[in-house]
Amino acid sequence: MSAGPPLERQAAITGIGQSDVGRRLGRTDIDLTIDACLDAIADAGLTREDIDGLATYPGAGTGMAGFSGPGTPEVQDALRLKLNWHDGGAEGPAQMKAVIAACFAIAAGAARHVLVYRTVTESTAQGEGGRQGIGGIGGGGSGGVPRSSGFLQWTLPFGAVSAANWIALVGQRRVHEFGLTREQLAHVALNGRRNAALNPKAVYRQPMDLDDYLAARMISSPLCLFDCDAPCDGSTALVISHVDYADDAPHPACHVNAVGTALRGRPSWDQFDDMTTMAARDAGASMWERTDLIPSDVDIAQLYDGFSLLTLVWLEALGFCGRGESGAFVDGGSRIALDGQLPLNTAGGQLSAGRLHGFGLLHEACVQLRGDGGERQVPGRHEVAVVANGGGPIAGSLLLTRGSG
């Protein structure tokens, strides 16, 4: 190990911003992005002229319609930014890659104030085009066996077409090895819904109880509809600054204490050495290797819930409980409630607040560290937050601490 503290401690989140969030807003991705970016820049006490770095995940043209948002060239041009550093791409430690790259760019002296954003318009895209169909699975279509490339060539012919299926395999393995029950898994979703009721921007706010959850239609066992996040439209932006600006920012800065970036197992949905966990295991472990803080120091957890099962995987990966113990950890819901031992996904998470693809969780971590959560502010100490993004072979995490400010 090199001497001195990890370089990410040269970075702090000084501004946060978010556009309108909702279902089928009917607005373009650049329109939403500009709202979020201008919001974040002003929140940091800066102007567009101060921004000299720009980053996003996953970059333009990636994935299905509405998934990627605008790329950095489009945003640079729209905001007329003069950049010393810019980055957009999908390979790396999950959605967190853009944030982590920005931290390192700042530490390297490549930029001083980096604007980082993530935009989705998946709800509007689905409304316009319908959910994209998948034809010819298992030879069922007129064209016979579908031809595909990459990982999908091994799964598509068998109808394992979605991350829901791949994650369900991990879920069923956890049922087998650890005795995970649907009643336990439900509490990730129920906790999210309870918190979403206190978040005016959340897309699903009506009450939901265990009976509602158990009655929902099955998607891919053991995952039901409420185990899957809700596509939405929205943009989230952050300003990440050199730490020497932190005390000058108008709001308490969220200092980056450690990043989790490792991938030590095979980069695969179905060949990982332990099929009860995922790359999260490695990212989580590597984060704690870079800090003297320990899991019991964490006051607030924002853990990826693209599917409820991923949150369980992250709880173990980050050491909040032992391997196989996450079902019992969330059971009953009190431990992860706003007033619990580890308040979890306090704005409702992606299951109920909407699939802002990791950045909604990051935004909420900053809101909570600042103490600006209003009705949903966690009571008591709010000094340390952890944010985790990703599932399957991609994973990244971030440990944040509250500055004085």
Partner: protein, 83 residues
């Protein structure tokens, strides 16, 4: 290769990715010759989910023109002399 495997995990898919499709079983099968190599596949002719994980399966090929898909079905243990 023997064509034999063991079920490592499975899921019953209900979502109609193709409208009108019936539920089907997606399996993750370890190859007996090298258990850390797994195939995502379909489990066919399985009578029950009970005890499915850890159970022995054997390959059965489903032909689509020039492509043969490797699916797996349960091995009837009563027919096995030693397993």
């Amino acid at each position: 290769m023997s064509g034999r495997g063991r079920v490592h995990a499975y899921t019953v898919n209900h979502q109609q990715w193709i409208p009108g499709s019936e539920p089907y079983v997606i399996g993750l099968v370890e190859i007996v010759e090298q258990p850390d190599v797994r195939l995502t596949t379909n489990l066919v002719d399985c009578e029950s989910e009970d005890g499915l994980i850890g159970s022995d399966v054997e390959v059965t090929f489903e032909q689509h023109d020039e492509v043969f898909l490797p699916l797996f079905r349960s091995v009837d243990s009563s027919k096995e002399s030693n397993s």
